[in-house]
Symmetry: D2
Subunit: 353 residues, 4 copies
């Protein structure tokens, strides 16, 4: 079988190793280049010893002129600000680019500027002319555009959980769109591999916290996507939390149901919206639900509940932040961009315990 | 110094050992009797080996006629349904009773019945005549009544975090009382010492879940207490979650601010409400906040935030569920009931890490 | 491709779900029957929700006459005492059996009796006539016999780590065989899915312990296997420990080196012994080694060290107790028994983090 | 009551906060100065928020001439190399010094040089003339000397667990002193507060490892102390491990029993050796033992076992590495140096769970 050649920039982080793990199992892909700013010249299996014998490619500096460059696709598993500087050189050569950061999630400099302000970076995008051509890489909402695009901005992990958990409600019009509250909890891997006093084992093992209250950058993309579905501006309240576990996001989503709506109509809306989706599973309130049900898999599990006493729709949305929230979505997008079966390399149930 | 004699029923659980640990350090208390349904006849230090040399009292069956009975106060650190059957015999002898369960949190059988229905127990209270005389044991709201009472119903752990986090907003009238959403996260110790497949280490170490969505029994007491403050009926939306840690509850509380209210007026309301409280600390949004800040202590930390984009007051309320959420509150109530300095035995900062 | 049909008895435990996860990815296998003593009549994906859509087979009582029985192989992922009663009915029909317990690890009733005494079961084996025909399922030592056998006793998880870590030293004669000390540490999943107060999350999250000091049942098989290699009786000292993690065994193995032996000769012995093995990786002392390097994979990593001051060989042996220590070895044995490529379905690097 | 004034250098680390927590509860002590190299000018309760209201002292640069200096004792809770440069200025003023590092654990430059070589620092001690006057701060072995000393070198955490676990066996002569193997496991807090990729939560939560095999610096002090007891040179084999928990060291200690020795004589030796010790508890093999039994307390629990098959004495030694392994021992030493009751401020049972 013909295999496409893929390069990964940012191979030393959690997003990079997640892509490597998935692509090693992908029948249509050969990993042909790994790049990072650290550990240059070392085999990636020294950085991630579990890869030994599976992927021993050497890590290159992305600026190294002698580095591999024969790719069909490049993953930017890098922080904000990197892909926007580097993507053009690949695109100019017809190589497709999937970026994990916020660099290509927005189609204009104004929206990007709002995002950039929140993350404390300067507001000037390095490649503003590329923005109109980018696609927001959430396959369940933008499959057709992804298929036609060469430049996809992979969504934020919190955003995946919130958008998938709210889209059917917003699209079907069963809720008041201005009542949305997203209470999101993430495991520590969502913050990446970089050490931080707050994620030092003894500081974290028995401690949880809220952070960036009403100020997280993912709010932008959630509001944009929901607004597109509702065909009107939407503002949400969003609070992220970090808890002492590794893999998993659970977002508890609260909305005011419109009059006449109930559990049955809500479940109908969700089941109907996702009836053809392979990676979204819809459950009613009767099921016990846990992030371990989606751990190490590309699935999003949704539990749809209604609090009749207060008229709220309460959706619990669960993903593995490193899979559907990051590398899994990236591979899903790659599959769509190259015309592979969308689930290729992703149909695995994860591991328990 | 004269010491009161205290007996603990349910000494083999987390609530019991928490009381023992605190009372061992209490200058006005001598523990003179321990009771449980299991491990009868064994020293409590075999059940909890860290107590060896500090408390080696033998555990008695509560029904044993030869068991110690010379007490000034009795703690019922027992599940729902136990204290309501046993409290009278102590009360009749002038012994004060503090019950950890829902048995004495409500003053009438109707409200208790609603609570009892939720926990799946029969609705008949075993001692309905005692209910009018009980006091809800949250010192910050009911100090004067506790001081005069012989029978206190210690509040639920989630309820402590939500009520303390919402009382100033409700009392001061800065919010729409019918917009309240409580998203509560607890460590596993909140479920007690009893084994459960969901709390088996390998099933829990990397897994979180929501449960009892819009159906948790603590909703009742939160609504009752807030209603008393607001002088009107209040309905809240409440979702509890279990996360893989041991000690700590973090409740994220969302309310719609009334017109004209902002961060300053909100902070004023909270600081004013708690200005004389020793165990509640009020913080603005600028502070990083974590449950480890209150771990193993009797404090409740509140972080007051406002999302100006959506007009929400967002209060993050943090306690140690086994301290302010359970044994700590019980000892605080005991101090009040016996006229001791309220903070006696409780002014310790916890341990880190 | 022709697929063999496999039934799993004990499908509701960690050993069962591990086998299901691996066999779902195995190109030559179809799972056609699942059995357990609990959850009869429910789809296995209700017990293990991550399997939903991947394996939704119903769980049967093994005694149910209407249960599936058309198998080429049966896995007994069951505690001691189950397989010895049930294996014969499959064997009589030409169906191969792989048992996870100690039931078929020994070839005579005397040795089995010693083992059975340690685990506190009666000493009578239910099928003593089957014992001479069983093979100890550690492929690295018994590959040829496994290939010819219909009944394989999968090794104990501690035993795998100790035997693989000691076999080259014993076989090559570089150590004093009577000086061996095995200090073994396991994650909690090694104790299985059954709840236990000692493995309740709050009791375990910050606690480690030794247990069964000099009395663990796995000692028997380690001594037997090492004795076969040394061609003499060997007695080892073995101490198991449980630590607060889920997957992983790390055994630190101490032996007195014979005169004239050093790090180089030790490393040579290990590298030579395992030079053709796919699932054993030998490292010298220079490498940082961690159980996360083998997590969720079928590998055993060995770090060979010498303490020149005391003349000790110190080998650190690391496996995933649920993979090479259990289901992974079982699938490896199945591959050998059926003439499949030995690594089929097992060549995956695990996941990090 | 008259209180001594204590300053803590290195107040921002785990050793510093541990001392603060203990001294806040100590009736004879007032903390009057805190020093660190970071967070200068901030209240210590901003670094450790649980201290808020209990200790809000400002952190000073140790070089700041305006810093507090009116002390009776100074704790150096600092890494190797700091105390040896700073201690003299306090000693010259009659202020007693307790140092946590290896700087003052050895009485001559040769032994210190061997230690210094292992930790990769230069071999020259900054104050060699102070070494002969230092005392090794393990109260159970050097109580009388500590009482007379102004300069105590607090022992290493691993060393505490190994020395206390081996001293009775070595002193009583029941073992072959050259057969000793120490297999030590520590929680992550033993490595301090400094972030490290290996202690990043996602890298550590399900991972254990051995390190510094046969090369850990604590070997020196264990050998020295045991050698003093045996009155001859002793060499031990020592392997440290890090496991995913926070507080606790469990050292499994293996020795060859001399002929004629058995469990009874071993237990006698241990019980006799420690019969007057408040902080060492001796248990036979019958008791389940766990580090949680000593968590957050100053106790060392010892479980004495004999493997009759191999003639080994196996002692399991358990401490809280931050208490008896660090700050607890420091306070115990301070009590002795100032003539306070040795247990003052230390008689607490810890917390469970």
């Amino acid at each position: 079988m013909h295999k496409i050649k893929v390069g990964i920039i940012g191979a030393g982080g959690y997003g990079g190793v997640g892509a490597i793990e998935l692509l090693l199992d992908h029948p249509n892909v050969e990993i042909t280049g790994l790049f990072a700013k650290q550990d240059i010249g070392r085999p990636v299996s020294e950085i991630f010893p579990h890869l030994r014998g599976f992927c021993d490619l050497m890590v290159f500096d992305p600026e190294d002129p002698a580095a591999p460059s024969d790719f069909d696709a490049v993953f930017y598993s890098t922080p904000d600000g990197v892909g926007q500087k580097g993507a053009r050189k690949w695109l100019d050569r017809g190589i497709k680019v999937i970026d994990y950061s916020g660099d290509f999630r927005f189609n204009d400099t104004v929206t990007y500027g709002g995002y950039a302000a929140r993350i404390g970076k300067g507001q000037e995008h390095a490649s503003p002319d590329l923005l109109p051509g980018t696609v927001y890489g959430l396959a369940e909402l933008h499959r057709a555009e992804i298929a036609k695009s060469n430049l996809v901005g992979n969504p934020g992990c919190f955003a995946v959980s919130c958008i998938l958990g709210l889209a059917p409600a917003v699209k079907s019009g069963i809720i008041d769109e201005n009542s949305i509250i997203c209470d999101a909890k993430t495991g520590v891997s969502g913050a990446g591999k970089k050490v931080n006093p707050s994620y030092h084992y003894p500081a974290r093992y028995d401690s949880m916290n809220a952070y960036k209250i009403s100020d997280h950058q993912h709010v932008y993309e959630v509001e944009r996507e929901l607004g597109l579905l509702a065909k009107k501006d939407i503002r949400i309240t969003f609070t992220p939390h970090v808890i002492p576990m590794t893999r998993g996001i659970l977002s508890t989503l609260y909305c005011n149901l419109k009059k006449g709506q109930d559990l049955k109509s809500s479940l109908d809306a969700y089941q109907s919206f996702y009836r053809n989706e392979k990676f979204v599973r819809v459950f009613g309130p009767e099921k016990a639900q846990s992030t371990s049900d989606v751990r190490e898999s590309n699935f999003c599990n949704l539990s749809v509940n209604v609090d009749e006493r207060t008229g709220k729709l309460i959706v619990v949305s669960m993903i593995d932040n490193l899979m559907k929230g990051q590398a899994g979505s990236a591979v899903q997008n790659m599959n769509i961009m190259f015309g592979f079966e969308e689930t290729t390399g992703l149909l695995r149930p994860g591991r328990f315990p």
